[in-house]
């Protein structure tokens, strides 16, 4: 079985319920208003370290490919406009239209200012203590780049 065929730890298929992103947005606003941004970031950190233990195992073993596979699978499922370029020194996920961000805008009208923290904080937590770092650059509303590089 090739690596592409090996199922990921969380390999969801079937239909997609995009309204969950609206509940994420509501949750972000609730947590920030009640407990502050640090509390929100702590929850996202736990998602990165505890929920995504398997992605971290791969990164710790020097393998960034599993994260790329994760990106491809889920950004495709959500209908995002994106591409991934794999270079010698870095891997860049460019999201031109984030399906989650635009879905929240459609159903709620406004998107939380901290909405993209889920991406940046989870990425930082995924890479923490591994040979990689993952930088998240927000390019605009619903657009970002996520860059995997080996730590020097």
């Amino acid at each position: 079985m090739s690596d592409e065929e090996t199922p990921m730890r969380y390999q969801e298929d079937g239909n997609v319920h995009m309204d969950f992103h609206g509940a994420v947005n509501t949750t972000i606003n609730f947590i920030v208003a009640r407990y502050g941004i640090e509390a929100l970031h702590e929850i996202f950190r736990r998602v990165g370290t505890d929920v995504y233990q398997d992605l971290r195992r791969h990164l710790n073993a020097g393998d960034s490919h599993e994260l790329v596979k994760h990106w491809r699978h889920f950004f495709t499922r959500e209908g995002a406009d994106y591409d991934i370029s794999v270079g010698d020194d870095e891997i860049v996920l460019t999201v031109r239209r984030c399906a989650a961000w635009f879905h929240v805008q459609k159903i709620h009208g406004t998107v939380s200012a901290q909405f993209c923290d889920q991406t940046s904080i989870v990425n930082t937590a995924l890479a923490e203590g591994t040979p990689f770092r993952i930088d998240t650059i927000i390019d605009g509303p619903g657009a970002c780049r996520q860059v995997i590089r080996r730590r020097s």
């Binding site: 730890r9 969380y10 969801e12 079937g14 239909n15 997609v16 319920h17 995009m18 309204d19 969950f20 992103h21 609206g22 509940a23 994420v24 509501t26 949750t27 609730f30 947590i31 009640r34 407990y35 509390a39 702590e42 929850i43 736990r46 998602v47 505890d50 929920v51 995504y52 233990q53 398997d54 889920f74 950004f75 499922r77 959500e78 995002a80 999201v95 984030c98 399906a99 989650a100 961000w101 159903i107 709620h108 889920q118 991406t119 989870v122």
Partner: protein
């Protein structure tokens, strides 16, 4: 982006965090989620009653890949969940599951039924099994009677079970 497929595992982390802040906080969070859900379901219930519930949960069944039966008669709307994908994912998780994960469903649905004048009877059956039985009655006496044959009756903010 945390994929929508992984929302339940994020939700699970949120519940664990909020529970540490206190039971009242958890109720407030359920109410906030309930308010969010009003955007999707309130007009359907107000305009179409049981038919509106059927319409909403038919979409949920399909989009969330649920194995469930649903329908209604003169007295009640009913869902029999045979395999809940939400609890299944919360359990199929490298992070520890919040033991009361199932409580969130009645936690958001109950306040909406209270608001629209219906009476919810939510039998989770067993918090460790991805099955449950939800009934919504027009008549309160029938709802109270139905509560007699449940295995694990759920409460919600505004209606606590002992």
């Amino acid at each position: 982006m945390i994929p929508s497929d992984h929302f339940t595992r994020f939700y699970n982390e949120v519940f664990k965090f909020i529970e540490q802040q206190g039971e009242r906080e958890l109720d407030d969070y359920f109410l906030e989620i309930s308010k969010n859900q009003e955007n999707h379901i309130l007009h359907l219930i107000r305009e179409k009653g049981f038919e509106g519930m059927l319409q909403y949960w038919s979409v949920i069944r399909d989009e969330e890949n649920c194995d469930l039966d649903l329908g209604y008669d003169e007295d009640k709307f009913e869902i029999k969940m045979h395999l809940c994908p939400s609890l299944t994912k919360a359990k199929d998780n490298d992070a520890e599951r919040w033991e009361r994960y199932c409580d969130h469903c009645a936690g958001w649905i109950g306040p909406i039924m209270d608001k629209t004048g219906y009476h919810l009877v939510y039998d989770v059956i067993d918090r460790d099994q991805p099955q449950c039985h939800m009934r919504v009655y027009k008549d309160e006496a029938k709802a109270r009677e139905a509560e007699m044959d449940v295995r694990l009756l759920m409460g919600w903010p505004g209606r606590k079970q002992s």
